[in-house]
């Protein structure tokens, strides 16, 4: 039966059957939409799916355009990496949490750093006051990194580090710890986020202006391709863009627009696209609207494959594959009736798995209130294990592929994202668009529209604007003691007293020379880290050369 015939039949059904039904039983809303405002039709049929054919739009798993997945057998061979984002207080406390999570069956580490570490301040800096060890672990020197990974075999565990402005420093510390464990750099597996453009758009943990930030990123790409070949050198992140309030379509569009800028910057320095693109990875958010989210991941994969092949001429299959980590949506969790968050996280994790993620973090039920407790992080990890081992959805590849609704939404999200990317190209690229405040404005509009839809009741949030109960704010939440700050300062002072001051000064001097001359800064950062130069000292040298970025300037 042709698509046209199907369309006609559906139309007849709408005219005859539906019209009558609606007269008797009106539907809940005049129009049904995804959270990104895409129309969800009453019925999706073959008439709604683009007719370019199965192979062109879907393809086979592990084959261009990777809509159905990047690996030939997907989870039939091996589940996604279960990687809980964790870190708080001191390196000692966080090391204990890692060992707990690994013992409970987590399969990869994911390090959360505190804000001073992310922004290049030591724990004794005045701007660090009140922030030390709060949203992640405090790392000042190699000593902290040694404690953080103590007893964890770095040749066996892969580690993701959510670090951007100071990525070169943390990667260097990781390499130095590995060296002490006798693990060669080419055996190291993991990811540094290293995605600065989204910091200017959505998350704010930048240090340098965009130009020098891109320079440091390409230094890392160049260094790792030879020295740390199994390392994912950048994880281009839509997660924070979505948390800041973007829609699913904007998340795909802005993330891929940033990715285009990184690839272009690296190509402009003379790297061949196939030399580094296989090590690029992505990081997406996953919200509650299950069908939209599954479609989003499929659309992102197809669009990226096309961009890499058609725009950048990438020939290697690995350069065309969009591999991604997913985190369930922190901003979707509610402080009201926190146990409901377990259900939200389950739905989101399921969508990520149905969407073909390579690695997954499931948020804990108490995250709208505080850092996760051991109990709540275990439930979050168990959620992934139940989906993996009990739900059966990992036994076939891309289980929702071919569903008319999912295919139609995939097409729509791809088209919407393409439209944004064309607009950004017309503005002169994403850096110009960010400088003009375009992305930030689009995200702020979407965030406000969402808030309005919650307040009007159009978007139901269970326990918040419907189905409320009288409840007290829960007690016994995880808190980071202020003592952590004092402890961290004492530890830093003792490292500084013990280290060879002349070696530190020489290493920092060499870093300044290389940065000023425009050379690759990763080797001198690595050398400085090994002398126990602090993260703040190294960042100050780079600040003195590159300058600092301030919002709106």
């Amino acid at each position: 039966m042709s698509r046209e015939t199907v369309r006609q039949k559906v139309q007849e059904w709408e005219d005859k059957v539906i019209a009558k039904t609606l007269a008797k039983f009106p539907e809940r809303k005049p129009r049904f939409e995804t959270t990104a405002g895409l129309e969800v039709k009453r019925l999706f049929s073959p008439g709604d799916v683009d007719g370019d054919g199965y192979l062109e739009r879907g393809g086979l798993p592990g084959e261009y355009p990777f809509t159905r997945g990047v690996q030939p057998t997907m989870y039939r061979g091996r589940f996604w990496t279960m990687r809980q984002y964790a870190g708080f207080g001191t390196a000692e406390q966080t090391n204990e949490r890692y060992k707990y999570l690994l013992a409970e069956g987590q399969t990869g580490l994911s390090v959360a750093f505190d804000l001073p570490t992310q922004i290049g301040y030591d724990s004794d800096h005045e701007l660090a006051e009140g922030e030390v060890g709060k949203v992640g672990v405090a790392i000042d020197t190699l000593r902290d990194a040694e404690i953080l990974f103590d007893g964890i075999p770095l040749d066996k565990v892969s580690t993701s580090m959510t670090i951007n402005s100071t990525a070169a420093v943390l990667l260097s510390m990781y390499m130095a710890v590995a060296q002490k464990q006798g693990v060669a750099k080419d055996k190291l597996q993991g990811t540094i986020q290293n995605d600065l453009l989204k910091e200017y758009v959505a998350r704010g943990t930048y240090i340098f202006p965009p130009g020098p930030s891109l320079k440091v990123i390409t230094d890392i790409l160049a260094y790792c391709k030879d020295q740390v070949p199994q390392w994912n050198t950048i994880s281009i992140s839509g997660y924070h863009i979505r948390e800041a309030g973007s829609t699913a379509v904007q998340e795909v569009a802005f993330t891929l627009a940033n990715a285009i800028a990184y690839v272009q910057a690296a190509v402009d320095t003379g790297l061949d696209v196939d030399e580094f693109a296989g090590r690029l990875s992505f990081f997406f958010n996953c919200h509650n609207n299950l069908l939209e989210e599954v479609a989003k991941f499929r659309a992102a994969r197809r669009l990226w494959a096309r961009i890499m092949k058609e725009r950048f001429g990438a020939k290697d299959k690995r350069s065309q594959m969009l591999r991604f980590h997913t985190q369930t949506a922190g901003c979707s969790l509610t402080a009201q009736q926190p146990d409901n968050n377990v259900v939200r996280v389950t739905l989101q994790a399921l969508a990520a798995v149905l969407g073909g993620t390579q690695s997954l973090h499931t948020n804990s039920r108490d995250e709208a209130l505080c850092l996760p407790t051991e109990d709540s992080v275990r439930i979050a990890l168990r959620t992934q294990q139940i989906i993996a081992y009990e739900a059966g959805v990992a036994d076939t590849i891309d289980p929702l592929g071919g569903a008319y609704s999912v295919e139609a939404l995939t097409d729509q999200i791809e088209a919407g994202a393409q439209e944004y990317i064309a607009k950004i190209d017309a503005m002169g690229g994403v850096v110009k668009a960010i400088e003009a405040g375009y992305l930030q404005g689009e995200i702020a509009d979407a965030a406000f529209a969402y808030q309005r839809s919650v307040e009007s009741g159009e978007q139901v949030v269970v326990g918040v604007n419907q189905f409320q109960v009288k409840e007290e704010m829960p007690k016994n939440m995880l808190r980071v003691d202020r003592e952590v700050e004092a402890y961290q300062r004492r530890k830093l002072a003792s490292v500084k007293a013990e280290r060879d001051g002349a070696k530190v000064a020489a290493a920092l001097g060499e870093l300044k020379r290389v940065a000023t001359d425009g050379g690759n800064v990763v080797p001198p950062v690595f050398e400085a880290v090994k002398t126990y130069a602090s993260l703040g000292e190294i960042s100050d040298v780079l600040r003195s050369v590159y300058g600092e970025y301030t919002e709106g300037g």
């Binding site: 804000l115 701007l127 709060k134 949203v135 704010g204 402080a335 406000f448 307040e455 007690k475």
Partner: protein, 131 residues
Amino acid sequence: MAQKKIRVLIAKPGLDGHDRGAKVVARALRDAGMEVIYTGIRQTPEKIVAAAVQEDVDVVGLSCLSGAHLVLFPRVAEGLRKRGKAELLLFGGGIIPAEDIPALKESGFAEIFLPGTDTGDVVNFIHERVS
């Protein structure tokens, strides 16, 4: 004579860059007819106090989710008192444990808004307190 518009400073103290909540509140207050100045992220308490004085605002709202509120919020209140601005209406919001709210109120904050707050409640709160 037209009533003088209520002037509000929305500020993000500390190193945390998540300002979705601050921006949404700023916009809702503007929609409700107030004049709103948003400082942008990564402000020190001193800078926030200086901006509040310079802009001659009636209300200061702070947002924080990093957990640094117990250090940073009271410092803003203290700074305003020192500059003779103890009468300003202060409120805060973010990821703030319930058990910290009494201490923040003690330090001078009239209200702390938690996740899930309706922006209409913030608007009403300001209208009730500032005439």
